[in-house]
Amino acid sequence: MALTSSLPPVLRESGQREVFCGLTSIVWLHRRMPDAFFLVVGSRTCAHLIQSAAGVMIFAEPRFGTAILGERDLAGLADANEELDRLVGDLLARRPEIRTLFLVGSCPSEVIKLDLAKAAERINTRMQGRVRVVNYSGSGIETTFTQGEDGALTSLVPLLPSSPEPQLLIVGTLADGVEERFLSLFARMGLEAVRTLPPRQSTDLPPVGPGTRLLLAQPFVADTVRALERRGAQRIAAPYPLGVEGSCAWMAAAAAAFGIDPERVAAVLDPLAERGRRALEPLRRKLEGKRLFLLPDSQLEIPLARFLHRECGMELVEVGTPYLDRQLMAEELPLLPEGTQLSEGQDVEKQLERVRASRPDLVVCGMGLANPLEAEGFATKWSIELVFSPIHGCDQAADLAELFARPLNRRELLQWN
């Protein structure tokens, strides 16, 4: 089925997927909320995954860990529950600064049907308000990579206080600096009541209610949006704040939702847009006409493709996405050029064959695939960097483009004779 009149049917594939599971998002979520601890209830594989995705062990005692299930836990769920309570008790005694504990479900805990919601309830009662315990699933049988954040945020929604007051709620983790910049820009437009989810302190939860308008900073928070909508909030339709165009449209949509005078908005945004485009110009010259293939990974692929095509002049060979959420992509899809081939899901071997056949100039992919593709002669950009770097906003548009220009520049720099 065609998405919009100008796009060919989506290529749907089911085969081997080469994508991280939702546990990976703990790597940035725990940094966002320094008073929260993420306890994965899973296997040694889960611990090893997070460790490998995080790169190196920088912290002696990070604010995440894995309760590794042993054979005894599998033999009897009663024992597993008891063990979990004991382990959480020890952990919280050791880390008294923790205010919110996320119990994170994994593939094994889902398969043995360990009820983490019940566990959270039990521990909440015992902690008597000293620590709040919530749960969500980051399992790879249900979630991919960035979807873990959606689960974590959804688990916080029932805890949000109610308020009918008009406010803008930005949903999805932004880099701290980028977020501050957006807040100050909104303030300049006269929009002061702006809150964020996740907050920077897990206890400083924003209120929600009929006056709340949701502005999505990330495209992977579908369940969170639905949960917030059930509490009366309404989503503002906007593209995502990647690139000058996306960021301006994103801020303008929020301002319009609050009835702010378009002239006042333009007075704030126009100089930013002009400066952003100026900064992009040299990068556009580098990227223009270059052919781009995006493998499914972070769920940012569609907005990135839109930015790289419209503002950097790249040609889109294929835009893969782990899953296609039509509602949350409704403002992005019409901005893609006519004929863009989207693919949903993955059959990695077949997709790599398409990469080889189409000889793109740049491939965006996960870390497992980058070096093998480089060895085959393709320039690559590993996508995990996109979820760790400040890439949102007009001022970051050139930085974002630079991430894609760098591999191409590097290839030109290197000489062997």
């Binding site: 080469e18 611990a47 490998s52």
Partner: protein, 534 residues
Amino acid sequence: MELTLWTYEGPPHVGAMRIAASMEGVHYVLHAPQGDTYADLLFTMIERRDRRPPVTYTTFQARDLGGDTAELVKRSIQQAVDRFKPEALLVGESCTAELIQDQPGSLACGMDLGVPVVSLELPAYSKKENWGAAETLYQLCRGLLKSQVPAPGTARPGSGRWKDENRRPRVNLLGPSLLGFRCRDDVRELRGLLADHGIDVNVVAPLGARPADLIRLPQADANLCLYPEVAGPLCSWLERNFGTPVVRTVPIGIGATAQFLRELCTLLELEPPELREADQRSRLPWYSKSVDSTYLTGKRVFIFADATHAIAAARIASRELGFTVVGLGSYSREQAREVRAAAKELGLEALISDDYLEVEQAMAHAAPELVLGTQMERHSAKRLGIPCAVISAPLHVQDVPARYAPQMGWEGANVIFDSWVHPLMMGLEEHLIGMFRHDFEFVDGHLSHLGGASAPAAQTMAAPVDEVAEVTPLSATPEGGALRWTASGEAELSRIPFFVRGKVRRNTEAYANERGVAEITEETLYEAKAHFSR
């Protein structure tokens, strides 16, 4: 249930991946959910491999669980065989698939694939990566060699049979694998060493071997068990079934390399190696004897690694460099007995643990001047402000150097001398910087490579809840604050080189507590020094 923050070893199926990825012509079908594909990056990023590991994941999802996951497994197996045309197929499951009991191995065996199939059962909830690697190598060889096993009672060929067969003696190098420490270079070094002694290499496995090479394993006159974590069970099985003797001495360091050669030559009925060989071929003996190395004497070293490298490091440190080993341990439970024996020889009790916090605590307590460890200990040592050299897996990309840097053999000893002494030289430099820091020429920006971690206690007290606060203090004053350091005491303490300062502080406080002294002055410090030097 056990709380783990960072782990030394991955799950056992990652061990199986190491075997498959080390070899040529082997493919591994792994029944596992999509998240488990993260393991590819261990090979493509840490080892900088130019190709994906030869692994097909079924990447089943929750919605598949209601249906027929067994069908998915069979489809994945068939597609992998058709696409990759392997010479041998490994079939197994990761932790989650183990729970749904599809038994992919049995499914594969019933499929008539036209290639040898080895079904792997690696219990994910009780075993770990190295065990998984050893079991996989053993099961693969056993599967391929089953039909060749001689009947019980068959006469075993003697290890001197090469003379009768009018050829050079030949041996297998067993154990080198990807994600092992410097295996690639160790193989090259040993090939040279063996060639010098007229010994041929029959098969190296798993690194670089094809299934057809494994079938030739019994043709060797001896097996060299280079990394017991990976090759131990295979060597024992070959010894029991084919009568192939095993050399178990791991040739890391001068003494061990010499011992390895003696054992091997005796076994193969060759001329014993010349005693001068070590001095002629390696610089370590002379470098260690040279006067510049005097300052290495008695340096306190803390060692924690896999068993192979921990035991080797303890021997080199204590006998060949004149260090004092103040702590020895390993995360390799399967080899705990050997590590305990090595520790006992040095008058220590081995620390066998996979809890890196326990290791860090032991490290802080031992107050070493050098740490030899894994990437985990490198980070702990960094926090404690102690120089560190990495000697074992788990690795980081920086532990896979571009240059030739073996650990085994004569050149390995050279590499070890440089890489262990280098961080210590830096330690001495650190001391000089400390000495000169009050000179007017001294620039504040002249910070140490240790990143200011040399005063962790003060930082810990001052910092709010952030990364810095997660540093474990090197020495904490006793609770209750009964002890007080006077200005003169602190001043004297600050003149002591940073790398022993923690120990001096602790000793002085222990001494003061013992004597009921509440105030520590410079005199207390010297009294304590005299007390402890007895």
